[in-house]
Amino acid sequence: MTSKPAPQAAGGGRAGMRKELPEHFKAYKHVWVFVELERGAVHPVSWELMGEGRKLADKLGVQLAAIVLGGPGEAVRMAVSEAFAYGADLAYVAASPVLDGYRNESYTRCMTELVDTYKPEILLLGATTLGRDLAGSVATTLLTGLTADSTGLEVDADGSLAATRPTFGGSLLCTIYTLNFRPQMATVRPRVFSLPERQEGRGGPVIEHNFSLLEDDIVTKILQFIPDRESSKSNLAYADVVVAGGLGLGSAENYQHVRELANVLGAEWGGSRPLVQRGWIPADRQIGQTGKTIRPKLYIAAGISGAIQHRVGVEGADLILAINTDKNAPIFDFAHLGIVTDAVRLLPALAKAFRQRISPSTHTRMAM
């Protein structure tokens, strides 16, 4: 399905102005993925990007490099070997005390040094709080283009990166190019792409970058890091089963049926944005364009109409079951299974059915 470009679209008229890439940018080659390492762990979005970066690099016939920054110690080395397992051909590494714990100043400096030295044509980062903080600074320093929150990455026949993202509040998608500048930068949200298969035993060259910035040169200091309480953490983005509710549930009390079913299924719970706005659920439980993107095996949506902003966050689910009293609700356009009924009555019945089927012995424990 092709459609005419909207006349309002920024840059719509410039497509024909495409010029040849300036000579000094022609040296820019290879695809880079920034590996987000914090407090000893790599954010899974980095491996999701590695999978996608692999495809781009193969299409372009170039190499895929992992960029790993961090403090001195084991964590960086472990992240590098993981990067190879997830598809990297080589790794650029900078280990320095000033890179222990993310700070904009030190990371921006180090990334721009690396780009200026080794010249990638494509640079991908996760659209996490860290990745978005870093990408904006790096792109501005390099004066190149950056497409934020991309949902699709392709290379064109001429080898340029085509990044697709939602626009105008998510009701439309647009495809964005970076003309005449390198590297072409894009960020991608967690869970937009699936995790690639690990391949054990892969390896490759590791290029150590000597990063000379000293602590005294950095103005911003990390005074403290307060980890989120384990109990308050939601693992929505990475859950196998998610149960969510919408305004159709009618009240915060009725929302409890969502939690009960989630509990029975060992699932995560969430909801549409209006529930956050009404204070029925915390903000980190919001699913959709301005909340979490999820890719569960099973997604159960109760009393949710299926607005486009919600849809873009859940379309990666393998199986979507929608419960809605309105048979014309838009959610039935993208759900796989539909039940036209009152969710407030059906949710407890579902909880009962699943409880009996999958955990008959833990009946009382799960019924809390």
Binding site: M1, L179, Q224, I358
Partner: protein, 283 residues
């Protein structure tokens, strides 16, 4: 103390419709609002002024009608409003936008006194990039504090600030020096209602209106379409799924029976799920 708060007038995207045939956005008649994320930035600035005194300048780049949003910001209590408006800004991407805004902030500093803190919202609801704040910080060499949930301490004498910043998996407490740029996290405060007097003044206030030239922007090649390295090539509606949802038959059934057939249908389509669920729950 002098704070600049950057705001953007955006279409209320809850009310945007897409033309079913041409796939173009129907913006006519869609009301505009201040980007909701920016209100958290404005309120955070107002709170700092409550504690430390000083002045707040709100700044927007946009068409002449963006004046409306500035007046609204004044009615919440901002002291001064600057509208940066010029046709050469049309079609700006994030890089070009951060250039224009940073030049305007420079000029605000020259005209109305040095700027200690620049506030922006976390992102806008129409662009959603969260990149303009970091872009301004970089161009003006301001210390960058994004996703800030709270300002813990501001010491104007020492020129230092400490904030709580939302990071992945926790909160970073950061200290840095002024001048700095803060992008404020949503849900961290609630915008106040200005008094009647403030609202009346806002209606009469003079909006400082600058063209590119008036803002001292010499290099127009860095503005608008010309200054934007990215280009939008195609705008299109998401592809509908080819088939509609399979409806579970309900005829004459009560909730328990419907639940049973829903469960059966789920396990039929996801055969491995039943085993996994049983394992995780009993393991």
């Amino acid at each position: 103390m002098h704070i600049v708060v950057c705001i953007k007038q955006v279409p209320d995207s809850a009310q945007i419709r897409v033309h079913p045939v041409t796939n173009t956005i129907m913006r006519q008649g869609v009301p505009t609002i201040i980007n909701p994320y920016d209100l958290f930035a404005l309120e955070a600035a107002l709170k700092l002024r409550d504690l430390h005194g000083g002045k707040i300048t709100v700044l927007t780049m946009g068409p002449p009608m963006a004046e409306e949003s500035l007046r609204r910001a004044l009615s919440f209590g901002a002291d001064r409003a600057v509208l940066l408006t010029d046709r050469i800004f049309a079609g700006s991407d994030t890089l070009a936008t951060s250039y224009a805004l940073s030049e305007a902030i420079r000029k605000i500093g020259e005209s109305f006194g040095p700027v200690d803190i620049v506030f922006t919202g976390k992102q806008t609801i129409d662009g959603d990039t969260a990149q303009v704040g970091p872009g301004i910080a970089k161009r003006l060499d301001l210390h960058q504090l994004t996703y800030v949930a709270a300002v813990q301490e501001l010491d104007l004498k020492a020129g230092s600030i400490a904030v709580e910043r939302r990071a992945e998996g926790g909160v970073q407490v950061l200290s840095t020096k002024l001048p700095c740029l803060i992008t404020m996290l949503e849900g961290t405060n609630e915008i106040r209602r200005g008094s009647i007097e403030v609202a009346l003044n806002a209606a009469r206030a003079e909006i400082v209106t600058w063209s590119a030239a008036a803002a001292g922007i010499g290099n127009t090649a860095k503005c608008g379409l010309k200054g934007s390295p990215t280009v939008v090539k195609r705008v299109f509606a998401p592809k509908p799924r080819s088939e509609k949802a399979f409806q579970i038959d309900l005829s004459g059934l009560g909730p328990d029976a419907i639940a049973e057939s829903a469960m059966a249908e789920i396990f039929k389509r996801l055969p491995s799920l039943e085993k996994e669920l049983t394992q995780t729950l009993q393991g």
